[in-house]
Amino acid sequence: MSSSSGRLDGRTAIVTGAGQGVGEGIARRLAAAGANIVVAARRADTGEPVAAAIRAAGGSAVCIETDVSSRESVEACVGSTVERFGSLQIMVHNAFRGGIPHRLEQADLDKHWSHMSRTGVWAVMYCGQAAWPHLRASGASGRFIILTSPSGIEGSANIPLYSPVKAAERAMAKSLAREWGSSGVTVNCIGPVASSPALVTAFERTPTLKGAIEARTPLGRVGDPEADIGSVALFLASDDAAFVTGQTIICDGGSFLGL
């Protein structure tokens, strides 16, 4: 366990898409800080090893198979979480499908839009609604954290329809921050650039991409899901960030400096 152990003692977090990449890094980091973790993964064969690794390190974690594009599945995940751990303080929505490069004028709604819309924007609604009664009951400890992207601010020349989905998530976070503020619950976004299976695939598809990202990044590297992104998630989930809401923290080594 890291030195941050104890900051989230007694709290419970659901992390969607925690079977790999950024979600896994966040789950591991929050677990190291003492939170009970629900690894909400679409497939148990990816989620269960993450939960097992957290338990092996002395943490508390279970895997619950969850399809974030299904209201019923998300509600079942939240219900099982509360039944198991007694409460829910932190909902982290990270899961995402899609992101196939395309030309906007040739984009096909089924192929290039629907998965991203469903697992991005629709899932924010499902995760937020299912978690809300429990976050509200947690008052000033309640947290809704949404993983978005710098592309949701600056647009994307490579995956143009990815950007509006990530922009919509930011707008929803701001709106919910206003709507839920009186309860003490905070709503924030993280815009990461970090190593993930999707990024590794992109690097394989475009061999020059990794060097290009590193060259334009002041810190000269791609982020680590646990050490770099998980730490920001831990800050937002902790009492230290009780007065931070409606914000997007871009965590990309300085690649995007436009806020």
Binding site: R71, L104, W122, I153, S163, P164, A167, A171, R178, W180
Partner: protein, 190 residues
Amino acid sequence: MGNDGAANIVIDGSGALADALRAAEICVERPTTIVVTRIATDAKSFDSLTDADFDDAWERPMQEAIESFQAAHRARHERLIALVPTIGMSGAAGLAHVAATAEAVRVMVKSAARQWGADGMTVNCIALAPELFGIDPAAVGAVSIAPLALAGKGSVADDVVPLIRMVASADAHHMTGATLNADGGLWMTS
């Protein structure tokens, strides 16, 4: 492409704002498509939103906007201007489902600008007062911490049309991916 004023402009969208723009018979220098984003107007608490609400406020307007952008590109128009309310940038209690669409279209403008600049097309956004889209001002009252710098929603003829003419002019040939806020000072942070 010709340069014969009103014949060069397509107003793509429905509702009172689109109707007012059509009635204005705007003359523009460059062939232009105006995409009037379809904006749901009913404020509703987030926890009470149904799938039908979200389909009406998010999914269908976004699919329409994507198709409108594609149609403008097919038409080889030199200017695409998307109109949205500023609540996408500010967020608004009770309008999360609506703010999502407004901000998504605003950022899709940037993606389109990045891809279509090489095709000789500029893509920009004009962000307007929510009232022009039929949103009750009371619903967005919590957005601003200060009174409007300028009172009122602004006039389509006097305030919106001149902006469209400017963005659609030859003078704006090097401006793309931009957002022009024209909401009377409701939201001053881009």
